[in-house]
Symmetry: D2
Subunit: 262 residues, 4 copies
């Protein structure tokens, strides 16, 4: 399907504020960016670089005053997300080098603390894809989805304790559980067609059967319509924007995803 | 200044033809891509990756029949190209690691064959930027610019022998002469506002005084309006498209560059 | 000075155990590896790769039975560690792209939780190197160094609460405090000549004044004799070995550092 | 088998001479470096970095006077080189991204000039490994191996014209022929046990059947005992040393390869 996505941000800047934005989706195996717009008002110097995870990042310093970022894209994405029931666990020694770092604990995914719990949740499952499905089912049954429940990221340990969270939190706990079973897992931030209420979204991917598969514990059914903007180990790596210095909160943020053709 | 660039290609494909395209300009220090369009007809799977030089490359297999690629971009680029008269030669030991490979000879820039000639051309010049200026002046005085004179790339040695060439050839010989003096030099392919006749353009950059400077021996005067699409050691690295298998020539190719605002 | 370092590990393996080792120091600006030995007994297939941080990593699967790794190196390292009192804070917009990721929170360095505390600790200091010195002084005065106090890594938040730790913990808390002030900081694991009791060591580096400086809150005085083996965001990235599957503890581990000549 | 390799170089330096050396073999799938020595006399600052091809490169400036480099290694390498008769041609669209650049022409491998010739040489062969075997056979039958015949690298076109060459030349022509058939090919520089007369050696690898295979047209029979030191597109990328500024020739160069155990 073809989607038009947009994300607009506005800030009221008092002192020059350095930003690193991650709002330019990349074309890849799963999606093709046919049209894209990226406007920054007022116009300032922007430097773009590629980070360790392959994301395009935009560096700039916002000047005092009203500052806004307008991005939109027309994207072809899959109608259906690939599923891989039975896809086997990949032995560590057979993982690609570049995938190994997704086995390690990270800021919001303390996978080193979840071994026993993950083993219990996935007991009886075939190693690999089916373990991740069991984790997703467990998340749906045990964590209460509550949009707006966490403003700043909290970690998998904290979510497991509070049992309530937003999409990012579901992803963090899912990732931590996967990694504790030696299944590589990574975070994805982007858009999902049909998400209610509409907002930026976060989900995760796990590497089984020789490829990355998409998982999203916030959705009852895994449908198509995902547009990835950034990949990373967890939310620390894939903030849509990182702002440095005295905190500047957005005065406005709006997101839209509409279907423009099949 | 703000420019709208476009490049359209059309092919008549008989057997499935693998392509690697390099037609998506990247935002960077010198330019900002505010709007971009990249349409492929018919719609096929495309995989995008970043090559060793930081270029975004699109891989696809064109199916039999009419096949076309339409790209356009709205870009903010500098009104004036920085010039650095007197910028000093950078001692090899002080060059950044990533710049070292631009000292080596490459397919179309046999810098190992130009030491004496480059020394003569730059005799009396201050080491660095001014040497490159002397090379550009020599190219303008000694190589006859003849659009359409070479269809397939020829090398610096061949150009130096024939004394006639297109923009790509001027760049190759300029690069070879720079490298033979231990000045890192690289090729750039892209657009130039005001180029006559309008077409894709090629120029080169040399690393002196701690940064890359733009040089273009095809232009009497170095003005602004450059939009870079690809960087590399020479034309072998920065083909706008590489097509593999039985050769398929474009049935149409059109390029435009217009100024849309200051 | 010239040092001979060694690290030997032994394991008693029951089921084939995948390992990723990080025990081959790299030559670089700060150290030169003149001789090196890396023996694995029994001899197995080893694949070596370079991770995101530039570390050489060795992948292998240890077979059942006694398994040991013997590494040693003869290294030239600095007699004195560079200090940079007064070296200024680098504005975010001027940091190299590759340094930016060292501003982000990571598994054991929850820098997002330390803003106020870091501000208090460094009150009155000139921005940059001197802030880091204040952090190191604070660590020395407030955290009790207790070798063996933590077997598995604990995080900066936990260390700050328990007020007791090993070298790795001092580094984690120091890194978290630096990053919370927008000073890039990274972990280093390696050897230190004269360390008592001798063991592998961990310290940290902070990026101020345009370069990385070494800091070590476990030492009363910053002397020379450091040999770096691995760099990363924190201990999650620079484990001397990561072993996957059922946990296998080393049956023996020995480390030595001796001075072999000036 | 286990080999001890060594390469010693000596120079008589008159003005400070920047060098980039490539003399540290890396452990990898095909070989394991168990012991290594790398001595530079007199001792100077050396910076090591990893180039685009994964090679470890050492940067230094040799001071005036006698300057020497002594390297040796104890390496486990394969007793037999894998052969893959019948291994199929990999369609371009299925090649890994990182392999694509080995399809392009390079300084000494003008693959764009060899299409017809390569097609004739490989006529009737199954696409893939067997084509490369036909190329190697053709090289053995048509190019006269003459150690010492070329001091400075010459290109595939020149070798094809002169019909005489050294190991490097055989590799260059072999690579050019492979690439002209859309078979990725790369150069390897290193050691070969049993080579007569003993010297540094060069050979090539071609990517067929989903992996790199070793080919060496200078040897009647493909035996084991190869130790790779550097990989690249051709000799321009994998010089054992690149020296910049006024040319300094080695006053001595010695190479040895001995078998130390099975």
């Amino acid at each position: 399907m073809w989607l038009r996505t947009s994300c607009d941000l506005a800030f009221d800047i008092t002192v020059p504020a350095p930003f690193v934005l991650m709002l330019r989706p990349r074309s890849g195996a799963q999606q093709w960016i046919e049209r894209e717009e990226y406007r920054i008002v007022p116009s300032v110097s922007v430097f773009e670089f590629t980070d360790n995870y392959g994301n395009l990042c935009q560096r700039l310093t916002a000047p005092p005053g009203e500052f806004s970022v307008h991005t939109s894209a027309e994207v072809r994405t899959a109608d259906f997300v690939d599923q891989g029931f039975g896809a086997p666990f990949v032995e560590i020694q057979n993982l690609p080098d570049a995938v190994l770092s997704y086995l390690l604990p990270s800021r919001y995914c303390e996978s080193d603390r979840f071994c026993q719990m993950a083993t219990e949740i996935t007991a009886g499952q075939q190693l690999g894809y089916d373990q991740v499905v069991a984790i997703v089912t467990w998340l749906r049954n045990n964590i209460h989805f509550s949009p707006g429940s966490s403003d700043t990221p909290v970690s998998a340990v904290e979510i497991n304790s509070s049992q309530v969270g937003v999409c990012r939190d579901f992803a963090h706990l899912g990732i931590a559980l996967c990694r504790s079973l030696s299944i590589p897992a990574r975070m994805v931030v982007g858009y999902l067609y049909g998400l209610e209420p509409i907002d930026l979204h976060a989900w995760f991917e796990a590497y089984v059967g020789g490829r990355w598969y998409t998982f999203d514990a916030t959705q009852a059914e895994l449908k198509g319509g995902y547009v990835a903007v950034g990949y990373g180990r967890d939310a620390a790596d894939v903030a849509v924007y990182n702002q440095f210095g005295p905190v500047v909160n957005p005065t406005a943020q709006s997101v839209s995803v509409e279907r423009i053709r099949d």
